[in-house]
Amino acid sequence: MAQILETINATIKFGGLTAVNSVSITQEEGEILSLIGPNGAGKTTLFNLLTGVYRPTEGNIKFYGEEITGLKPHERVDKGISRTFQNIRLFHEMTVLENLLIANPDCHRESIWEAVFGGRKLRQKRQRVVEKCEGILKAIGLEDKLEELATNLPYGKQRLLEIGRALSTDPKLVLLDEPGAGMNSLEKEELSRLIYYITTDMKKNVLLIEHDMKFVMGISDRIVVLDHGEKIAEGKPEDIQNNPLVIEAYLGKGIPEDDDD
């Protein structure tokens, strides 16, 4: 199995605060990797390092063996990394279909010349883009809502649409930042089915942050635990569940009976 993503001692400091401290993680082709940790552990900050929103103070990030530490966010999307956000950032005033269209590289890379003078060829290209987006809409179960404004969708559907938008960039790796937040158990089932669909049918890789332990333990192949910006554990779900360091990070020290979660 090939290594797709690798951070080497990734560190970022904001003034005196070290939000992520020398974290090295790797992800193999085809595995679902999860990042967990208590609030403020640095999970989202690590995501922002991976997607280029922040530059690491120290350390490197490699994607398929290629150094991407210095690349801007949109350049990393071109390399094949896309993401969703913890607080949904859809284009609310646009329709469901438009949200996917614009994420397709063939759509936003249209040149101005093409846009003004394009004829049949452009129309055919656009038709192909629309068809691709419809395929994704089917996968996320929104194929009957394509003319709906994104803002009018229920919360759970908005999350799905954001995942759809990330898929529409045709990525190799999708970073999902708390995809299940605010979803009910039914929607969560739908979500885990979607994640399996992404990894097995679409052959893309998934790296996710999630707080719902049941969900994480069920879906992940491997889990990395962060606490106070440092990696404290890494391994298969069952190992993580029984790791004393992890239990301590979540529940505190000294009350060994208290492990009801």
């Binding site: 950032r89 005033e93 063939d106």
Partner: protein, 335 residues
């Protein structure tokens, strides 16, 4: 607005509109009315182009009159000093204005909101001061008189009627280009930049690129408007291209509706007509004008024809292979 949804009826309506526009000079021979129409046309060029920057790409620009002025001076100087044909001069105006758009945009489009507004405002002032002080070329505050009229294949365009038809052609051309840009991947990318830059970056869009495109295209069309204006009025001076003009254009865009091309047209029509209609009470004209703007912003902050009326599904391709859902989708969208 259901009538406008049917493409056949739409074509008929457009046809009637075009015929009316073409027949206008024959119906109304008063040259003052023609002059007002021509002014509206020039402002439609300016407002739709600024709308691309402010309404679609979401960048507040207070220096649009500078590009208008650059176009006017470049066109006028080429026609006066080098005897260049009007249409070549117009292309040169567009190119030079566009270049200045690029020059202004490159360093400043990293700024957002108010900061960008202040830089563009400063740019507008600098350009005006150059017109005033670069006397050997621009004759300073005296302005440039005697700018020739255009001629096509030896046929001289002069008189208001001819200029009226010329501006109609320019407006239709501009509207066509703007429509194509707005309803394309480029236009959609501009709107994502307006809505949420971080989200736009997360799907591979480089915000600066689309802001620059909007800036350059808008500047080029303002340049065309400037060159036309120079030739029509036959005299230009720095007083036309002041901060006030920039604000008027911006007011048209906002009043008509940000991010809507029909909105810009409506805005240009209203804000050109109202001051003319209020001429009889010249002392209070600007007062009433101001009050009108305030009321408008309170009761219809979206403008007369805001972005909510825009064409959804920008690609205008019926999804689902056109088999189903397209009709019902059409109807529910615009209620």
């Amino acid at each position: 607005m259901k009538i406008l949804r049917n493409p056949k009826q739409k074509k008929v309506l457009y046809g009637i509109g075009l015929i009316l526009l073409a027949a206008f000079p024959f119906l109304i021979t008063n040259s003052y009315y023609l002059h007002v129409c021509i002014s509206i046309g020039v402002y439609i060029l300016l407002a739709t182009s600024l709308n691309l920057v402010t309404g679609f790409a979401g960048q507040l620009s207070l220096g649009h009159a500078a590009f208008y002025g650059i176009g006017a001076y470049v066109g006028a100087l080429l026609m006066l000093n080098f005897d260049v044909n009007f249409f070549l001069a117009m292309i040169a105006s567009a190119v030079v204005s566009g270049l200045f758009g690029l020059l202004l945009g490159l360093p400043t489009l990293r700024l957002r909101g108010d900061y960008l507004a202040i830089v563009t405002l400063g740019f507008g002032e600098i350009v005006r001061l150059v017109f005033v002080n670069w006397a050997e070329v621009t004759r300073g505050p005296l302005g440039l008189p005697g700018i020739p009229s255009p001629s096509i294949f030896g046929f001289q365009i002069s008189g208001r009627t001819a200029f009226y038809y010329l501006i109609i052609v320019l407006v239709l051309l501009t509207l066509f280009v703007m429509n194509r840009i707005v309803n394309s991947g480029v236009g959609m990318a501009m709107q994502t930049v307006k809505i949420d830059e971080i989200a736009a970056e997360s799907i591979g869009i480089y915000p600066i690129k689309y802001k620059l495109i909007a800036f350059v295209v808008a500047a080029a069309f303002a340049g065309i408007a400037g060159c036309y204006y120079a030739s029509y009025i036959a005299y230009i001076s720095p007083t036309t291209f002041v901060y006030n003009t920039s604000v008027t254009i911006l007011a048209m865009v906002v009043l008509g509706g940000l991010g809507s091309i029909p909105g810009s047209i409506i805005g240009a029509v209203i804000l050109t007509l109202v001051p003319e209609l209020l001429r009889f009470m010249s002392d209070y004209r600007m007062l009433i004008f101001g009050a009108l703007m305030v009321f408008m912003m309170i009761f219809r902050p979206e403008g007369f024809w805001g972005a909510s009326k825009r064409v959804k599904n920008i690609y205008k391709i019926k999804a689902g292979g056109g088999k189903n859902g397209s009709d019902s989708g059409d109807n529910q969208r615009h209620n």
